[in-house]
Symmetry: C2
Subunit: 206 residues, 2 copies
Amino acid sequence: MTMAERKRRLVADELAAAALELLAQKGFDAVTIDEIAVAAGVSKRTFFRYFASKEDVVVQVLTDLGPVMRTELAARPAGERPSLALRNAVWISVAACADRAEHGGASERALRVVQLILGTPALLARFLERQAQWRDELAAELAHRLGLDPATAMYPPLAAGMALSAFDAVLRRWSGSDGAEDPAALLDQAFAVLAPALDAVVGPAS
Amino acid sequence: MTMAERKRRLVADELAAAALELLAQKGFDAVTIDEIAVAAGVSKRTFFRYFASKEDVVVQVLTDLGPVMRTELAARPAGERPSLALRNAVWISVAACADRAEHGGASERALRVVQLILGTPALLARFLERQAQWRDELAAELAHRLGLDPATAMYPPLAAGMALSAFDAVLRRWSGSDGAEDPAALLDQAFAVLAPALDAVVGPAS
DNA sequence: ACTCCGATGGCACTTGGTGTCAACATGCCT
DNA sequence: AGGCATGTTGACACCAAGTGCCATCGGAGT
């Protein structure tokens, strides 16, 4: 049981590491799955038992962020202004992407992954797909939080879309500046722009 | 010259029509490109001379909407509030998707295409990709319109993202209600939510 | 009539992705 | 210890998406 699980995770890590290495080095299209598999010491068939596609190796890291953000949003105090609650929820993802290991070499690898995603159409498309799922989750949580009807209220999906637009803009700026700009400051800037609409549901001042 | 062009367009239309028909009927994954090609009376190889991928047949219709929206945005009077200018720019796309032929059988085909896109992951991903391009174009135009620096100002990409969130939300509601809800009213609703942030750049009242 | 050019079709080929099966390890039960 | 169940793996065959290449055909201009 524990033995099998550990082995599975080991192989998955090996595979992901080999893939990230090769993809970052040679570009997405120039690497075949066979290459990745042999680099990790397994067969092509085994690769597909761990990842559903080539894009998945890169993007799967970000999969869990949706539920995580939703949980964080749900954990914010009920009276908190939406702009603040959403900022905190999104911050978790930004930190996960940018801040990993705070001030070490690890964030550099994260930077390169983000740049790879943003610069590869196929990866970008998958990334956008994930974001669309995140948006639905965030929207559902917002509707619940504000007692709105998810089927008719326009606010929840729009607010979630705004929050993810901020996420996206911050990520782009951060990766475009090679990590030089501060993600937290960027995110605050973005939510300052969004806040007037985000907080207008209940009233302009809270 | 004219002869060759007409023939090209004829073949492209034939291909697109056959593809849309088959895809809507059997589902995206259940249709091979060979099928589409023979249904249009050409070879698989010729299909790829007209469309870059299976997804492209469906999505290519929407390709031009980016420049169109940008042009419309550029054509709005300089002093118009961003929320209004963007609403009008986005409206063009919504109308193109939903309203085609105003009140005829044509909008029903458009509805089915939208439902196909929104319900097929592969198509959704491509659609989102296009939207990302639109956003960049809209952002560039907004920056120019407002005299903002595209490299540092957060407002343009965020505003463009908001506008496209509205587009997306409207499209989803419209397709989810099988075309029953009025796209124009939905869009107005959406921009009413967004307006406080959209119009806050220059001042809360204009 | 000759020639040039674009469109086409056929074909081989690479790659992503899946189904199937036999081999092998692990662990549990008696 | 022997036997059985479960789970992982690799090999192989297979399908479908794309792409490169070349021979061919038909139309336009000379």
